[in-house]
Symmetry: C2
Subunit: 111 residues, 2 copies
DNA sequence: TGAAAACTTAGCCATGTGGGAAAGTATTGG
DNA sequence: CCAATACTTTCCCACATGGCTAAGTTTTCA
């Protein structure tokens, strides 16, 4: 119960932190440099950089260094894969609910 | 940047663990007792119970004890709220992509 | 009543995580 | 060429997390 689902592990735990979700939100508006990302937070640069690394390892964000500035962009595929997992489970649950309703209806008709 | 998003924090970090995602998956098929949930894992009961508690605190799962067995059920609303966050961000990113495409097209026409 | 079943609590341990300060490296503008 | 900029590396710390065992507690069933 582990190895094969490592991607989801990383994505969900990357999104579990509010600072990282805020970073993702900002990157949805367009690419940002590391210091631009740091600016709205009361956080030291090394700490923010760590968050960026976590987001990169989860595949949610990519970054490239040109000259002395590193620019980060969002990578929507990981976001979509995560949504897919949730969607699948919600619809699975929905199906079960439908079956239950059908079952109850059958009981009602019998009686 | 914190207090208001605590629900999402808890939901995402609950789903970051593969054991807990597996529990959620099984509960999508219907309610289960704690020991039924524990059965497929090589994990001691107290450890599994901890996972259940985490899932409860995130709002993903509810449980009720009747007699000596505690039965767990899934609570789809937290799942849906989480999907909503993802969906919102994906579509936000999509809009930005559209704007970029429109921009590039304008540039092409000019030239 | 008394043993088995089904949790539940308590406490321990190793590792991981989020935060920081300090010092280092590489680019750039004057 | 030198100072400022923009990271980056290297530690360090406190606390949270996931796992365990051992010892309860509460119900149920014979």
């Amino acid at each position: 119960m582990a190895k094969f689902s490592t991607d989801l592990d990383r994505t969900f735990s990357a999104l579990a932190d509010p600072t990282r979700r805020a970073i993702v939100s900002r990157l949805c508006d367009g690419p940002r440099s590391v210091s631009e990302l740091a600016e709205p937070f009361e956080i030291a640069l090394p700490s923010l950089l760590k968050h960026v690394r976590v987001l990169e390892q989860s595949g949610l964000v990519r970054s490239e260094k040109i000259g002395r500035v590193r620019t980060c962009t969002i990578e929507p595929r990981a976001l979509q894969a995560t949504e897919a997992w949730l969607h699948q489970h919600i619809s699975g649950w929905q199906k079960r609910l439908d079956r239950m309703e059908a079952h109850i209806e059958r009981m009602m008709r019998k009686k």
